[in-house]
Symmetry: C2
Subunit: 203 residues, 2 copies
Amino acid sequence: MGRWEPGAPQRLQRAALELFTEQGFDATTVAGIAERAGVTERTFFRHYADKREVLFAGEDEFREPFLRAVTEGPAGAPALDLVRGALAAACAAFEAGRSRDHARARQRVVDAHPPLRERELLKLAGLAAAVGDALVARGVPPLRARLGGELAVSVFAAAFALWTAPGEERDLVRLQAEAMAEVLALVDRPGELPGQVPGQVPG
Amino acid sequence: MGRWEPGAPQRLQRAALELFTEQGFDATTVAGIAERAGVTERTFFRHYADKREVLFAGEDEFREPFLRAVTEGPAGAPALDLVRGALAAACAAFEAGRSRDHARARQRVVDAHPPLRERELLKLAGLAAAVGDALVARGVPPLRARLGGELAVSVFAAAFALWTAPGEERDLVRLQAEAMAEVLALVDRPGELPGQVPGQVPG
């Protein structure tokens, strides 16, 4: 196969997932992933810094719509509305671009390999901080913004864990709305109960 | 010095912190930490599995009172009251057993070294999951319990970051109460505004 062609990232992601599943994370090499994907090692490193990164390409796809929804949310919207709008928009964008079967297989591999789980936690912490910074830029006080960023990522991660669970059929947008409703039930916000899923996109 | 004596864990923590600060994480060895602390390597490994763990002893001190406060909270208490009581109790216990100067120096080292930051995120994720399990055992629905555990750890981590910031003088119990008030302001819970810090220990 040629040195580069459209679809190389997708083939590398699939190859890495197969090899981590078949032979484990430690025994898998970048050379092996590239060979399975039918590309050169040089092509691998054009797309990914190391063999962990190849399983986290989806995070970048998620991050951009998430931050854009905070940045471009309605003027004067309360911080919680910005968070809810961002979660709904990002989950819709993420779900549209992903195969659920692939996401399930990928999550099983991440959960089973501590080095991948560590990378995942670092990515999520970075996303939470970025959402917090975006909220600060919208005028939210820094401590509230930090906690809003972490809340958003907690809700996303909880919804994603359900979405990739065996047998679960509800979609990701619905699941994040249900998770957010549980947060509001936790803090006893009047007028919202779990099971009632209000519209998520403000404005 | 003898092979074991009271205070070896504290001396190892101090030695590790000094060496990570002076020469960085990568250049520091277990042998070097043990030598600086005046104990044998065998004594090191009696207390810690590796050179990262020695900086996370405080997390175990925090974890136990945190979980106990959830487990032993008042019968029939709402999940949020269990979380708030646990945060207040755990922060009080943690603060009582720690030097703030030591905590500040330690946090600077952790934040500056990605392998230590990764370990910290794993520890916090484990704590959040344990708090979630403790809430489930108190009858809280699983999704709400998971999010409650993550909320508790987010509030603790935000308060701890402020507590260890240069020049900050408010105590940890006060800071966690202010962080929780910001969460409630974020979700617009009526009757509570940031700056009003309600009593934190239920019952």
